[in-house]
């Protein structure tokens, strides 16, 4: 059952990330989507990929985006 | 074991890493780059044709170690590791690409006093990636090296100080980030249907009807990979961004970028033909997009005032000829397409470097502000003119031979209208080129034309001269390469 919840969270956080006004929130939601996919990889019998995805998708990608936002502009208008 | 085959990829990567670290030390970097630039064509010439099984996964050797239940099944003959194939066909393209890279690096050294390590890193990394693309028989390995090539291409534009280069780089990356994952998804569909990534295995399975050749997975994979291929080779709808990319790079950078594009186009195009030649509408689709590419790019080239944009559009239009040859799909037309691709690498490099000297002299690329440059260096002017003739297809140059073969193959295959379009596009290329040549070199020099440099560097003259000689040799003795190509094509279809 948990896998369906995770899939739904992954897709919805992706959609909500793109609807945010505040880009920092979008970056964090991208990270949430990344974590959910990492868990999904674990369920799909790929533990080593899950580790990589957990680092890249949940930490590196949102941090890069957040750094870029810090150097540019935080709001999307 | 044939160690020279993996060395063709390893040497440029090593050189790239070292040059990146010691970029500040001018003399060592120059020496190393030139040595490696010479080494790649030489290795390509002397290497013995063969097959390299990475990790020792040679199916004929490990077949006896498999469990008994797998004996005689399809799985026992699959290649499980990455396989590099080196034959005379790969030899020609790696030699020519290595030659162009060497000449581009040579001209780069004269353009700037301070050389930059990262820029050389990008050139060598791209060279290694396209070499691996050409050698690799594994479609995912090709995808990885294609992504490296794309990043190297973007890096080469970023490292250039022209207006709007960052904008073009970001645009190319964003478009590439759609094209790349589409390619990956297509590879995923093929993997899901067939269970192997090795092109030889995939082609074997499809040709022996072990899977339904028109199964939905394969059709979707075909569409996605075809889309990725259009992005790789700058066919419409990507011809504008591709030509913008060329016009933003330094002349030597543009020469290399065009070489990379042609190599990527060939590697993926051959994979497409080997895997998907049975698809309905395969040839028609290729011919359609090739014609759109030729007509659109050449007509846009005719409208440009900026000569760098003009050559960039002409270079993209020439890629349309290669796609046309692949699309007609007969043995002669495929040979012509491969020959045309060879010529395309050489002639575009010649023109980019040759016209690059104009920008070097005057720091402007607007033909309306230029004129009378033949008095600066008439040798260069004549060599550029001859290079343009080679591109437009004037005898006795190689462009004429390949276009003649292409037109002939179109007639033989029963498409005289394609032949007519090809001839018409060639004539347009000729007039566009002659008009630009006339305005830049022959018309009276405008009074307000300022010179940034007084003379053309000798290295640029040397580079253009070498390329012209190779073009002439290929034009007079085309059988050097066409024999190899026709035997390669004979094994392809």
């Amino acid at each position: 059952m948990i896998e369906y919840v995770i899939i739904i969270i992954a897709v919805f956080s992706a959609i909500i990330a793109l609807l945010q006004e505040d880009l920092l929130k979008a970056a964090i939601l991208t990270g949430i989507s990344g974590v959910c996919i990492a868990v999904l990889y674990e369920i799909l019998l790929a533990p080593d990929v899950a580790l990589t995805q957990a680092i890249v998708g949940a930490a590196i990608t949102p941090i890069f985006i957040a750094l870029a936002i810090q150097k540019t502009k935080r709001t999307d208008d | 074991m044939n160690y020279l085959i993996p060395l063709m990829v390893i040497i440029p990567i090593l050189c790239a890493l070292i040059v990146n670290v010691i970029g500040e030390k001018n003399r060592t970097t120059r020496l190393l780059s030139i040595l490696v630039g010479i080494a790649i064509p030489v290795i390509a010439l002397v290497a013995v044709p063969g097959v390299q099984y990475f990790g020792g996964h040679n199916p004929s050797l490990i077949g006896s170690m498999l469990p008994a239940s797998l004996n005689g099944t399809l799985a026992s003959m699959y290649n499980t590791g990455i396989v590099y194939v080196f034959s005379d066909f790969e030899r020609i393209f790696i030699f020519i690409m290595g030659l162009v890279a060497f000449l581009a690096v040579l001209t780069y050294f004269t353009e700037k006093k301070e050389i930059s390590g990262p820029y050389l890193y990008l050139i060598f990394m791209g060279l290694a990636a396209v070499t691996a693309l050409m050698l690799s028989d594994d479609i995912f390995n090709m995808y990885v090296f294609f992504e490296i090539t794309a990043l190297a291409q973007v890096g080469i534009i970023i490292a250039t100080n022209t207006d709007d280069n960052y904008e073009i780089a970001l645009k190319y990356l964003i478009i590439g980030s759609i094209g790349g994952p589409m390619l990956l998804l297509g590879i995923g569909f093929i993997l899901g249907t067939i269970g192997s990534l090795n092109i030889t295995d995939i082609a074997y399975v499809i040709n022996h009807n072990l899977v339904d050749p028109l199964s939905p997975g394969l059709v979707i994979g075909f569409v996605l990979i075809l889309f990725g291929w259009f992005y790789v080779s700058g066919l419409p709808p990507f011809h504008t961004i591709k030509s913008a990319v060329y016009s933003k790079a330094r002349p030597n950078g543009a020469a290399i970028l065009q070489g990379f594009s042609v190599m990527c186009m060939l590697a993926f195009g051959i994979a497409l033909i080997r895997i998907f030649h049975h698809m309905p509408y395969f040839n028609q689709l290729l011919v359609l997009f090739a014609i759109i590419a030729m007509v659109l790019s050449v007509s846009m080239a005719a409208m440009q005032w900026d000569f760098r944009r003009m050559i960039a559009f002409l270079a993209v239009g020439e890629l349309g000829f290669v796609a046309l040859g692949m699309g007609i799909g007969t043995e002669l037309s495929l040979t012509a397409a491969l020959f045309q691709a060879t010529n395309e690498i050489l002639i575009s490099a010649l023109l980019f470097i040759g016209f690059g000297t104009v920008y070097y002299l005057t720091k402007t690329s607007d033909t309306r502000k230029l004129g009378g440059l033949i008095s600066v260096n008439s040798t260069m002017a004549i060599m550029v003119l001859l290079g343009g003739f080679a591109m437009a297809g004037v005898p006795p140059f190689n462009g004429f031979m390949s276009k003649l073969m292409l037109v002939q193959s179109a007639f033989d295959a029963g498409y005289p209208e394609l032949a007519l379009i090809a001839i018409f596009v060639s004539i347009t290329i000729f007039f566009t080129f002659v008009k630009a040549f006339h305005t830049i070199y022959l018309q009276p020099r405008p009074k307000d034309l300022k010179f940034a440099h007084e003379t053309i560097p000798k290295e640029a003259l040397f580079a253009v001269g070498v390329l012209l000689v190779v073009c002439l040799i290929l034009g007079l003795c085309p059988w050097i390469v066409t024999n190899v190509f026709s035997s390669f094509v004979g094994g392809l279809i």
Binding site: L44 | V144, L184
Partner: protein
């Protein structure tokens, strides 16, 4: 009620991510959001590959000591896509970093993150 199995649900999730990402890249004007969309496309493509190799009721494709080889071969998930995705994740991350760096440079030059303002004058 028919319960969808995990593999099919994951494939749908991958498709949804690719479509969301494509939508963002094509229709959203903000460059950072375009780049986030590209990250979703890449994640979708990776998830698609991993879901292909899944085997319902199978085991993780890591050969432990004491396992029976033919039992393992019959019951493990397909490991090839997993090896591919490891490479692909890294490629995606590096492309993302380059794009974000370019976005930062362009913001300094144009003072805006709007794709129309930055790239509009081209063509």
């Amino acid at each position: 009620m028919v319960v969808m199995d995990v593999q099919l649900a994951s494939l749908f999730c991958a498709g949804a991510l690719v479509i969301i990402g494509l939508f963002a890249v094509i229709f959203i004007d903000n460059i950072i959001k375009k780049i986030i969309g590209i990250a979703f496309i890449e994640e979708g493509a990776n998830l698609f590959l991993i879901a292909l190799g899944y085997k319902a009721g199978g085991v993780v494709p890591i050969f432990m000591p004491g396992m029976n080889a033919s039992w393992f071969a019959a019951n493990s998930a397909y490991p090839l896509p997993q090896a591919l995705v490891l490479t692909s994740i890294v490629i995606g991350a590096s492309t993302l970093a380059v794009m974000l760096a370019l976005a930062m440079v362009l913001y300094r030059k144009h003072g805006s993150l709007s794709a129309r303002e930055i790239m509009g004058d081209e063509e």
